[in-house]
């Protein structure tokens, strides 16, 4: 409840000013403007500095040719693309491989997550069967225990399986993807289930009367209609897999098989200060596509999160 106290003084100011501004006398003085909206800009500028500074810093560091941590403190003092070249040519860090691995693992895992989640959400939303409510509740309950906590067991399980089937063992990306798919049902199914429920059942009933099978209804009627939530779930699970360090670092051992999170962390933890600009270049390249996609889709994400949580 301390929250209320934190936020309250500001609202107290903001609302009277908004009322005072309405019958405003013509000549708008600076102090009046400041009381109405000017201070908001001040807050905005401060917050923007806080929000953007680290990003500008990393961009500047990445453009600093062969910069160390210390020399990166002069923002945009030197500009060159040397670090980006080093990133792709130095044998120390197989950056291109990390990038490719991250894309491969992330895309495959999120495609699988979308598909498995949508199948389950369709069943829960459109069919009535014994154990349905139990299934929904237990999906929620299982999700309470994150896979992260079972990482030791996952490691030992893959170790054992790997002795028999090397394709599914430690240091194999397929194994990692399968582990991620273990979390395909759960929160995602919930988000989708909520969205599936908003699609009127009259649509698929009409299709069934016209002779469409359930498979056809699922693929040609339901999936296109729920594509916004599919995009959201896909993006969320892509972000989750690219951000995962714990399981990826345990499963993927050899450098050329690792993902960006694991590779960049190990690179920077070994040569923290001396190769800072190379790391920064790697960070910029890794972040740009994700950020672009994110900004493009952010409306849906927020909408999906709010809708899913309320449902």
């Amino acid at each position: 409840m301390t929250r209320t106290q934190n936020a309250s003084p500001e609202t107290r100011q903001s609302i009277p000013t908004s009322k005072a501004a309405r019958p405003a006398k013509r000549p708008v003085g600076f102090s009046r403007w400041f009381r109405a909206t000017g201070w908001r800009h001040l807050v905005g500028v401060i917050v923007i500095i806080y929000a953007v500074f680290p990003l500008l810093y990393v961009l500047s560091a990445s453009l600093n040719p062969n910069g160390t941590l210390l020399s990166s403190n002069g923002l945009f003092a030197k500009i060159g693309l040397d670090s980006y070249v080093t990133l792709f040519t130095s044998p120390q860090q197989p950056y291109a491989a990390w990038f490719g691995n991250t894309l491969f693992i992330g895309l495959t895992a999120s495609a699988g997550t979308i598909f498995l989640g949508a199948l389950a959400a369709y069943a829960f939303s459109r069919m009535r069967f014994k154990g349905r409510r139990f299934g929904l509740v237990s999906l929620l309950v299982v999700q309470i225990f994150p896979q992260l906590l079972a990482v030791v067991a996952i490691f030992l399980l893959l170790n054992t399986i790997g002795e028999i089937f090397p394709v599914l063992g430690i240091d194999n990306q397929i194994a990692l993807i399968l582990v991620y798919l273990g979390g395909a049902l759960g929160v995602n199914t919930y988000l989708m289930y909520g969205f599936f429920n908003t699609v009127p059942t009259a649509l698929d009933e009409a299709a069934k009367i016209d002779g469409a099978s359930h498979v056809r209804v699922f693929f040609t009627i339901i999936l296109p209609l729920v594509s916004p939530i599919l995009a959201v779930v896909g993006l969320l699970s892509f972000i989750a897999t690219t951000n995962d360090f714990v399981i990826a670092s345990v499963v993927l051992v050899s450098p050329e098989k690792q993902t960006l999170a694991v590779g960049l962390y190990q690179f920077v933890s070994q040569e923290f200060t001396s190769n800072w600009s190379v790391f920064a270049a790697g960070a910029v390249l890794a972040a740009l596509p994700v950020m672009a996609l994110f900004l493009y889709l952010q409306k849906y994400i927020v909408g999906g999160l709010v809708a899913g949580s309320v449902k």
Partner: protein, 536 residues
């Protein structure tokens, strides 16, 4: 039997109707989906069959059983008419059961063992490893003529003993006499079914061949053959002698007897242990260690407290800042709100692990921007002092998390109808009262579940902690590898995977403790939000 009650009739009608529906369903399907379905199941069956075969040859009967059950279930579900929900649920459930439910159960099992560095196999394997590691070449022992054979990527030794007998063996199977080997000058040089390696091949695979030990017989105490050059093999005998009947290991040099005292390793009377040992069930030992041993209990307690404090502070600070900004920018008259908004949510779009690493650079004590530029070269230990490190973590998490709360609060604020505010104002409510009594409660209703999930997320926010401080500064007095800013999940990771020794058993015990804590929190929060009520 002759008279039909209304009930049986309606039951029959129901059956008929269901059959009619199935036939209709079937007729509408078309041929292509059926072909695809059969092809997919065929692929699953082929892979399963292969997996069954491989598991059988390895003698892994648990894996065999699991694969068999999965294959049977898949075939049953997809070939049986009806069971429609199962057709849609099975694929996801298989993954969920193996990689989420099973591993949680397996964690529970490991928590009761001493699994970890030095204790990660069976007793048999440990005996073998000990005997092999203590092998020494027997002085003046006869040399065996050797040809290295290869079959499907595995190497074997084809040896001709000084007395002329020819035998073959490899890493996992002891020597056995063979007949019909290809001879050249009294030395066996080839065997049907195998490829003999020539000198160049041996050179190429020198490392693997030099690492091979081929036992003379089933009894490990008889010694084993090794080769330094790929053409002669020599007898190596271990200085450790295993007595299977007594279950003891004797060091033939010093005469010390090591026996199995039930702690998962051969232990001498003076308490000295031979490593590697093997994994055994230790019952509640990991838990009692966690709760009674001062050097572990202390850190565990402080880590638990810090985990809660950190998660709570993270939610409160991000929510407070996010809500404040949402209110500030929720003013229609303000120009450029869109621009502010886009720039402000950039940290949320930046991958979290990179954000933490960048901040680790900014806050570096000696070379970081904050100390070097903002504080004019002061060496403030942002990440290495206990309290400053905690502060830094909350500060960085605020950076990472406030845009999310801002977005969510903006959305929630805008969905509150203006009429409510107007009605309250007409009734004479002061703006602050309108906010506190009307807007905030409405806001909290829609945001409470998100706050709880934010709490849960931060409770396990491994990346932030590990990338920023690695949990440090390290607690020197602790019996395990933990630091002042470690949260429970990073402690589990460090105990299991970080550093020279791994204690999987203890780490799993910690995991179980966290499961219990998390469940309690979840039960309480579910009760609070009653989010289970609208499931129907």
């Amino acid at each position: 039997m002759s008279t039909q009650t209304p009930q049986t009739r309606s039951a029959r009608e129901l059956r008929q109707r269901r059959r009619a529906r199935q036939i209709a369903e079937h007729a509408s399907g078309g041929i292509l989906p059926i072909i695809i379905k059969i092809a997919l199941i065929a692929v699953v069956d082929a892979i399963s069959l292969f997996a069954l075969f491989v598991a059988m040859t390895h003698g892994q009967w648990i894996v065999f059983a699991v694969v068999l059950v999965i294959a049977a279930v898949v075939n049953l579900v997809y070939f049986k008419r009806g069971w429609l929900p199962a057709k849609y649920l099975t694929p996801g459930l298989i993954f969920l059961l193996i990689f989420q439910v099973f591993v949680i159960g397996y964690t529970g099992y490991i928590a009761f063992t001493n699994y970890g560095t030095g204790h990660n196999s069976t007793k048999e394997d440990a005996v073998m490893a000990l005997v092999q590691s203590a092998q020494e070449r027997v002085p003046d022992s006869p040399a065996y003529d050797l040809t290295v054979l290869e079959q499907l990527g595995n190497y074997s030794f084809l040896v001709t003993a000084p007395d002329g007998t020819v035998s073959v063996g490899d890493d996992s199977t002891p020597l056995s006499t063979v007949s019909g080997a290809e001879m050249s000058g009294g030395v066996a040089v080839g065997l049907t079914g195998y490829t003999s390696l020539d000198f160049a091949d041996v050179l190429e695979h020198q490392k693997e061949i030099a690492a091979m030990t081929v036992q003379i017989s089933d009894d490990p105490n008889d010694g084993a053959l090794r080769t330094p050059d790929g053409s002669k093999a020599y007898l190596y005998i271990s200085t450790l002698e295993y007595d299977e009947a007594a279950g003891t290991m004797t060091d033939t040099k010093t005469g010390t007897v090591y026996s199995d005292t039930g702690v998962g390793a051969f232990t001498s009377e003076s308490g000295e242990q031979l490593m590697p040992g093997w994994s055994i069930n230790v019952g509640l030992e990991n838990f009692t260690k966690a709760f009674t041993e001062q050097s572990i209990r202390g850190p565990l307690l402080s880590v638990t407290i810090w985990t809660f404090v950190f998660a709570l502070l993270s939610v409160l600070t991000t929510f407070a800042l996010g809500l404040f900004l949402a209110i500030v920018f929720n003013d229609m008259r303000m120009k450029g709100r869109k621009l502010y908004r886009v720039v402000m949510i950039l940290p949320y779009a930046f991958p979290g692990f990179l954000g933490a690493l960048v901040w680790a650079g900014l806050l570096n004590r000696d070379f970081g921007f904050v100390n070097d530029v903002l504080f004019g070269g002061a060496a403030i230990p942002w990440l290495t002092n206990e309290w400053l490190a905690k502060f830094s973590i909350v500060w960085v998490n605020l950076w990472l998390g406030f845009p999310y709360m801002f977005l969510v609060c903006t959305g929630a604020l805008q969905s509150i109808p203006d009429e409510l505010t107007e009605a309250a104002t007409v009734d004479g409510a002061k703006p602050f009262a309108v906010f506190r009594l009307i807007k905030l409660p409405l806001l909290l209703v829609s945001i409470a579940p998100l706050l709880i999930s934010a709490f849960a997320f931060n409770f396990n926010n491994f990346n932030l902690i590990y990338m920023l401080t690695q949990g440090g500064p390290r607690d020197a007095g602790a019996g395990i590898n933990v630091g002042a800013t470690d949260i429970l999940i990073s402690m589990v990771y460090k105990v299991a995977f970080d550093g020279a020794t791994s204690d999987y058993g203890l780490a799993s015990a910690f995991s179980l403790i966290i499961f219990v804590v998390v469940s309690l929190v979840a039960i309480i929060s579910f009760k609070q939000t009653k989010s289970l009520e609208d499931l129907n």
